[in-house]
């Protein structure tokens, strides 16, 4: 029903799709780390990173601008960094007066703000590319292969499986609520704010009880199939030669990016 709302994987036949999920996870972490390591104002390196991203987009057959279009979600948080523009640790560029406030953007401030934004924006796009080209269960397998704690990865797998079931349940509750409060036109739809919050709280409580009972049934279903506390999984992935080749290429690329970023 609402399942598609949460699906991020887009099925395509591409090199990126075929790449071992471990390589993709490590690349993502490496890329984000590399962005974080680059100094403020390493424009050339940022551009190289961006080209890398475009190239990966293209290889994935999702279209050059795919991750760019979906990266808008990262924008709202940029607000938090706006104040960096007025960092006192630089030379003032201008002075703006707003009533009792005086704002002084500085060159270092602008440099810092722009760099933060670019780093964040590049990182987010690589994340988007990862989940668009990798089915989430494979991502969980990758984490397991990389020695992520098994119980945590299994909990995440359960969360993934049941977020669809429980959000459907939530949407049903929400629809029922809206259906009942629709007739109250003229009055403030749904009553006072406090009341609305209480209704939301009751829904959360209901959902909790139902979920708790569901976990009991699932537990029984697991026991019925021989579960004794140790989750066992098959290893569905093996690193191919091409995976090794691509990951070493990416490693070299990231090191080169660092060099470009640090040589002035």
């Amino acid at each position: 029903m609402h399942a598609n709302l949460f699906d991020r994987f887009i099925e395509k036949e591409s090199i990126i799709h075929r790449l071992d999920p471990r390589v993709k996870v490590i690349t993502l972490v490496g890329f984000i780390l590399s962005n974080a390591l680059l100094p403020d104002g390493a424009w050339l390196a940022f551009i190289v990173g961006w080209i890398f991203l475009l190239f990966a987009n293209d290889l994935s057959k999702l279209g050059l601008s795919y991750t760019f279009r979906r990266s808008i979600i990262a924008l709202p948080f940029a607000l938090a960094a706006v104040s960096a523009i007025f960092s006192p640790m630089g030379n003032p560029l201008a002075t703006w007066h707003f009533g009792m406030f005086t704002l002084t953007p500085t060159d270092l401030g602008v440099l810092r703000f722009t760099s933060i934004l670019i780093r964040s924006w590049l990182s987010v796009q690589m994340g988007i590319l990862l989940v668009a080209t990798t089915p989430f269960p494979d991502l969980i397998h990758a984490l397991e292969h990389l020695h992520f704690p098994k119980s945590l990865s299994t909990i995440i797998a359960f969360l993934y499986r049941y977020l669809f079931v429980l959000t459907d349940e939530t949407f049903r509750l929400l629809r029922a609520r809206d259906a009942r409060s629709a007739g109250l036109e003229g009055t403030k739809a749904g009553g006072a704010l406090f009341w609305r919050m209480r209704v939301a709280g009751n829904m959360a409580g209901q959902l909790f009880v139902r979920s708790y009972d569901r976990s009991d049934r699932i537990y029984s279903a697991m026991l019925s199939r021989g579960y004794t506390g140790n989750i066992r999984t098959l290893n569905p992935h093996t690193m191919k030669q091409s995976d090794w080749a691509i990951s070493s290429t990416i490693a070299v690329f990231l090191i080169v990016t660092q060099m470009i970023g640090w040589i002035r």
Partner: protein, 317 residues
């Protein structure tokens, strides 16, 4: 469309490596302990219960309530999870939720995920459970009242921590980000409080077996009360002081060498990112860069190895 209340999920790039690493370290310690403790208490039920409860929190965060002018409030759930499931379970559940929000929906970054988990899963559990635990023997009214206050305060503490992290990272000016963050979350926190209280009282009424005080008492003892009260006092005292007098806080931090350490820490390890014996040439900068990458990778590798060893349930067949 976003899938969680926005303000608190810090994306990658907004915190320095130093701040990210510190909070990853703290978070790994807590989460590792949470895995052990819940495994000890729940045994083989750990995985299904924690997984479904994480899905519950994820779904409950979709429940919105219109506030005003087209905006709507959301539920975060950290305090509620810690109160009804116990602090360790609450931490584990919130960790899973924040992990999937970061991994699958890019809601919150990966390098900064340690900080996000700490802000939204650990501090909320300490304050939420700690305060509630301290009044467990009181009557329902007092308990629910304190649960509400704890939920509100845990939201404020999350916002406070996020603001401090952004400031130490040199991303935001304290005198702007702190009042902004706290101002927004004073309101969001009220929603959190009302929802937590309503949910808790509904659970107590319909399924008293799930939220029995004796059962909650078993989940954590005086350590949590002390921790909860301590952090609460800290948050309550620090917030107004910092909002009214951010310069004061800034100078305190500066005197402690806190600020400069935060801004350029990873590079300072290698003294301005160059190796002394190579002199200050581009070559030495490059070499230092490579060493930095290697060291970081090695750290990540070691941490994950040690995690594997200490995790009692990681048993491949």
């Amino acid at each position: 469309m976003r899938f969680s209340p926005a303000q608190l999920h810090i994306p990658d790039g907004f915190l320095t490596l130093f701040v990210s690493a510190i909070f990853w370290l703290l978070t790994v310690l807590f989460v590792n302990q949470a895995i052990r403790q819940t495994n000890k208490k729940l045994g083989e039920k750990q995985v299904p219960l924690m997984g479904i409860m994480a899905a519950f929190i994820f779904a409950a965060q979709m429940i919105n309530f219109p506030v005003a002018g087209g905006t709507s409030g959301h539920f975060l759930g950290g305090a509620l999870a810690a109160i009804v499931l116990g602090p360790w379970a609450g931490i584990l559940v919130m960790t899973a939720v924040i992990a999937i929000q970061g991994l699958l929906f890019q809601d919150g970054g990966l390098l900064v995920m340690g900080a996000n988990i700490f802000n939204m899963g650990i501090i909320t559990a300490i304050i939420g459970f700690g305060l509630y635990r301290s009044v467990l023997n009181q009557n329902t009214k007092v308990r629910l009242g304190v649960a509400g206050f704890a939920a509100w305060l845990s939201t404020m503490a999350s916002a406070l921590l996020a603001a401090l992290q952004l400031w130490i990272s040199g991303t935001s000016q304290l005198q702007i980000v702190l009042p902004a963050m706290l101002g927004v979350h004073v309101l969001i926190g009220i929603g959190e409080a009302v929802i937590t209280v309503a949910a808790l009282s509904l659970i107590e009424r319909t399924r008293p077996d799930l939220a029995k005080p004796e059962k909650i008492a078993e989940q954590g003892g005086y350590g949590w009360i002390i921790g909860g009260v301590l952090f609460s006092v800290f948050a309550v005292l620090l917030s107004p002081f910092a909002s009214q007098n951010p310069d004061g806080l800034e100078s305190v931090a500066e005197n402690l060498g806190f600020l400069s350490a935060g801004v350029s820490a990873p590079y300072q390890l290698l003294s301005d990112y160059s190796l002394p014996f190579l002199g200050s040439t581009p070559l030495s900068t490059i070499a230092a860069g490579i060493i930095g990458v290697v060291v970081t990778f090695a750290l990540v590798f070691l941490i994950s190895r040690s995690l594997k060893k200490t995790d009692p349930t990681s048993k491949d067949h």
